[in-house]
């Protein structure tokens, strides 16, 4: 029963939504409004899950004094402190909460991704090799596209942006479209499997 009832809910709601897509009736609209209100009321509680999970992982590390456990204290202290500033002084611009976001969270978040520029440059030098005709085509296409994006490329030759545009609009388009049709069919199949109760992994383990 612990699995059957949730499954029945998914299947019933799922087919009601299939019907909703095709039937523009007021009952169908009322159903959507009801669903919206309920989803809105459920939505804030999902964050509790994230907090609990973080506390459990880092709490365990601290209590077992796992390697680098001191950093777990930093994580939890950061969490509590940031949340408290938001509750005490509010979340508007100019508050300590926004200061933390702007000067701590935001710079670190962008810098994490900026690191990748260094890695891709190092890989360009050490790993991108024209080992086969296919790899050569890949590299040549990449070089033309890279040059086509910057003013310098256009200044070298007007053919560079023209070739880059052609690569993107013809062979690239064909390849992305074929992959997308495949993915689209796969996603539809997965959705159908969920609707029909064949795919159940979202229920998690246990009975």
């Amino acid at each position: 029963m612990k699995r059957q009832i949730p499954l029945i809910i998914v299947i019933t709601l799922g087919f009601m939504f299939v019907a909703h897509s095709f039937i523009p009736h007021t009952i169908s609209q009322d159903f959507l409004t009801w669903f919206q209100d309920w989803m809105k009321a459920i939505s804030p509680f999902a964050v509790v899950l994230g907090i609990m999970s973080l506390f459990m992982v880092h709490g365990k590390k601290i209590s077992y004094k796992a390697p680098n456990w001191q950093y777990s204290i930093v994580t939890l202290a950061g969490l509590i402190f940031t949340a408290l500033t938001g509750f005490i002084w509010g979340t508007q611009a100019g508050t300590p909460y926004m200061w933390i976001f702007k000067n701590i969270q935001m710079p670190m978040s962008s810098t994490m991704f900026a690191l990748l520029a260094f890695y891709i440059a190092s890989a360009a030098y050490k790993a991108f090799r024209a080992r086969s005709p296919e790899a050569t085509v890949l590299l040549v296409a990449a070089i033309i596209v890279m040059l086509g994006q910057v003013p310098l490329g256009t200044m070298i030759s007007k053919w560079i942006p023209i070739s880059s545009k052609w690569i993107l609009n013809v062979p690239n388009l064909a390849s992305k479209r074929a992959i997308m049709i495949g993915v689209g069919l796969g996603m539809t199949a997965t959705s159908l499997k969920i609707l029909l109760g064949i795919e159940r992994t979202y229920l998690g383990g246990g009975d």
Partner: protein
């Protein structure tokens, strides 16, 4: 001699990666610190967004929705796009809404609005509304709900005000009026708008995306499911220039900006090393006297560094391959 060259490349092959990192950093720092003027060529994918927004100019029955589906990690690429679009709307009196789906996007959205509106006399609730942060689990209910009634689906704005009581909403009810959605993301978020809002209500969707996603979005451009696309930092740079050339233009004939023209954008240059907007056409300079703030040219300055860095990476690929083939030849001997 040959042996020496091979030995050199052999050594270069084993170069410590930290030297490469240093070169990457320098290739970006130098062009940023010593700025130079390079042309910005606009492309159709960006022009289409500009023209669509411009067609709403001064019309109280039309509006644009900006959806911020990203966090700070992709900000260098997406933020200049957002500021340019907001600036375009404020210049040309286009009503604009903003919304986001994750907590981390809320302050970025606020920051983009504040950055753009500093130089304009615009009021929240009249010229624009920030719908604020809505939990991601409400994405579909809200996207579908807005097809019927935006006020109902959104309910309250970022300041907790009831949307339906706001001035801006008087003549705007659903996607028939809010006929353009631009989603800014580093992933496939714009495609959700295509799948639901476009397919069900026929709304025009455009995407502001990081360059990583650009190649993947091309099929949607060809089918017309996307009316336009910002292609990474370059897209932002293109839009900055279009706003400078058309929306900021002020003469007796066009007191509030001039209409888009392909000829004009092709021929006019706007130097970024100057502190005012200057048009250079066929060698003739015209100084508008309008300040060209750093925040309005940040993407174009960035593109200078982008040029140098791309050339450097291409040189890396070529050098790496020469070394690879030479050392392989040596091993085969």
């Amino acid at each position: 001699m040959n042996g020496k060259i091979i030995a050199f490349f052999d050594k270069m092959q084993k170069l410590d990666r930290r030297y490469i990192y240093l070169m990457v950093a320098l290739s970006i720092i130098i062009p940023l610190v010593i700025p130079f003027n390079s042309p910005t060529f606009t492309s159709e994918t960006t022009e289409n967004i500009y023209r669509k927004i411009d067609s709403f100019a001064g019309d109280p029955t039309k509006a644009v929705l900006l959806s911020f589906s990203h966090d700070a990690s992709t900000m260098p690429e997406l933020f200049p796009m957002e500021v340019s679009v907001l600036r375009h709307c404020f210049e040309r009196n286009v009503r604009i809404f903003t919304i986001c789906w994750s907590p981390a996007a809320a302050p970025l959205m606020e920051h983009a609005i504040n950055t753009a509106k500093e130089n304009y006399d615009v009021t929240s609730g009249v010229d624009y509304v920030n719908f604020g942060y809505k939990p991601n689990s409400l994405f579909l209910p809200i996207v579908l709900g807005m097809g019927e009634d935006i006020s109902e689906a959104i309910d309250t704005d970022s300041q907790g005000r009831k949307i339906k009581n706001l001035d801006i909403m008087k003549e705007i009810k659903n996607y028939d009026d809010m006929n353009l959605v631009i989603d800014f993301s580093g992933g496939g978020a714009a495609l959700s708008w295509v799948t639901y809002a476009r397919a069900k209500f026929g709304v025009n969707v455009a995407a502001g995306i990081t360059a990583v996603m650009v190649a993947d979005y091309y099929p949607y451009l060809q089918t017309g499911q996307l009316i336009g696309m910002f292609r990474g930092l370059k897209g932002a740079a293109e839009y900055e220039k279009m706003v400078d050339v058309f929306a900021s233009y002020e003469t007796d004939e066009y007191p509030n900006g001039r209409p888009f023209s392909k000829e004009v954008i092709k021929n006019v240059k706007v130097p970024i090393t100057k502190s005012t907007i200057i048009y250079i056409e066929d060698g003739v300079e015209f100084d508008t006297g309008i300040p060209l703030n750093y925040k309005y040219k940040v993407a174009r300055i960035g593109m200078n560094a982008q040029s140098v860095a791309h050339i450097m990476i291409i040189v890396f690929i070529i050098l790496g391959n020469i070394g690879f083939f030479l050392t392989r030849k040596k091993d085969n001997l």
